[in-house]
């Protein structure tokens, strides 16, 4: 029986975070820093297999030094600067006052969309492999993607979608590469208001480093908005959770984000 997590790792998790290891526990909210660190590499990487429940830990959520900034993002084109100026984030280097915020996710309840789901509030997720696709099931906003692996080409001139159109292939026995296009520019790349156009193309590289670790690298290519391609996630480690982990539901419902706006943000308005 393949659980994907060896006994030693399970024992470590059990000591560090009992709810993470208890079979049939409901509503796991994600690993804390100590619990994340306690999960070791485990055995060798299985061949062409990303199946399982995974958690990028605190680094997936953003915050602190994790926000994109002028050091991590290349110069914006004139269009990019104009798009950025319209965005009023309440995080990151261009933080506006909270009552001025227009983050489509946190003020309107829009979907995170892709690739924001990987750049902000990237919380526990599950990967399922089928004969013709890889399914990415995200606990945040209970959203999902299908990565087609049946050999199809990416669509030409697709209608933009919140999560785009994705195809994937195994580059070698441990590296799965995903290309995504057709992304609506209504989404931000992160919570800091960095924009993108519908010319955006995203590459994800999932390297199964070991039994318990995947390293994710995400490359953003959008020549209409950014002067050159850039890496938004650089070998971000995802650590394996027990297979039976049930995830907490965390949905930014429109009624809830509106509640924050009405109860807090609007009342914090200053002239």
């Amino acid at each position: 029986m393949r659980t994907g997590v060896n006994l030693a790792a399970l024992a470590t998790i059990a000591l560090a975070f009992p709810s993470a290891s208890s079979a049939q526990e409901w509503g796991f909210p994600g690993l804390g820093n100590a619990e994340f660190a306690a999960i070791t590499a485990g055995g060798p990487a299985p061949r062409r297999d990303l199946t399982g429940a995974w958690d990028p830990g605190q680094a997936g959520i953003a915050g602190g030094d994790n926000y994109f900034n002028a050091r991590t993002v290349p110069p914006l084109t004139p269009l990019g600067k104009e798009m950025l100026s319209r965005n009023r984030p309440t995080h990151g280097p261009y933080t506006a006052k909270v009552f001025e915020g227009n983050d489509p996710l946190t003020t309107q309840g829009d979907p995170s969309g892709f690739p924001r789901i990987l750049n902000y509030e990237f919380r526990p997720m599950r990967i399922v492999q089928t004969p013709k696709a890889v399914l990415m099931l995200y606990s945040f906003n209970q959203s999902w993607r299908i990565i087609w692996t049946d050999g199809r080409a990416l669509p030409q001139d697709p209608d933009p979608r919140w999560f785009g159109y994705s195809v994937g292939r195994w580059e070698d026995d441990t590296t799965f590469v995903v290309e995504t296009v057709g992304l609506t520019e209504r989404t931000w790349l992160d919570s800091g208001g960095f924009p993108h156009s519908e010319a955006l193309r995203v590459q994800e590289r999932y390297r199964r480093a070991s039994e318990n670790v995947i390293e994710l690298t995400v490359t953003i290519t959008d020549p209409l908005v950014y002067a050159k391609p850039w890496i938004s996630r650089d070998r971000l480690p995802l650590k394996k959770l027990p297979e039976e982990t049930d995830f907490l539901e965390q949905i930014y419902a429109a009624s809830e984000v509106t509640g924050f706006k009405q109860n807090i943000a609007d009342k914090a308005r200053t002239q």
């Binding site: 909210p29 309440t90 909270v98 919380r123 809830e256 509640g259 009342k267 914090a268």
Partner: protein, 123 residues
């Protein structure tokens, strides 16, 4: 400034603290990170919601008037990691809440910590 005076009367104590990055989230531009205050009162509602859980606290002034404060914490996932639940507070609970108040002067703010009647402190 009457609002400032009223605030001081209402609050159990006013603490002057150095700004910390704990609430870097919604930033110094809106909430007063250098003038944290403590409010003490009775929970009227606890909203377990995203992107911020909100605690509504009725605070009684010496003259008997009651003002309802709405103070926000983090999202449900981050609070769950810290041991908070949707049942952490119930209407009628007595709480003491350290907050960063809004600069607008309205009774809203961001929670730093909450002390329950039994002495437990939630961060």
């Amino acid at each position: 400034m009457s609002r400032r005076i009223a605030l001081r009367v209402m609050c159990v104590l006013v603490l002057l603290c150095a700004a910390t990055p704990v609430l870097a989230h919604h930033g110094a531009a809106t909430f007063d990170t250098t003038n944290e205050i403590t409010i003490k009162g009775t929970v009227s509602a606890w909203s377990w919601a995203n992107p911020h859980c909100i605690l509504h606290v009725d605070v009684k002034a010496p003259d008997g008037t009651v003002k309802t404060w709405s103070v926000a914490s983090s999202n449900v996932a981050d609070l769950s990691k810290r041991g908070w639940t949707r049942r952490t507070f119930a209407a009628g609970d007595e709480v003491t809440v350290l907050i960063q108040p809004a600069k607008s002067g309205e009774p809203v703010g961001m929670i730093r910590n909450v002390q329950l009647a039994d002495g437990r402190k939630l961060q």
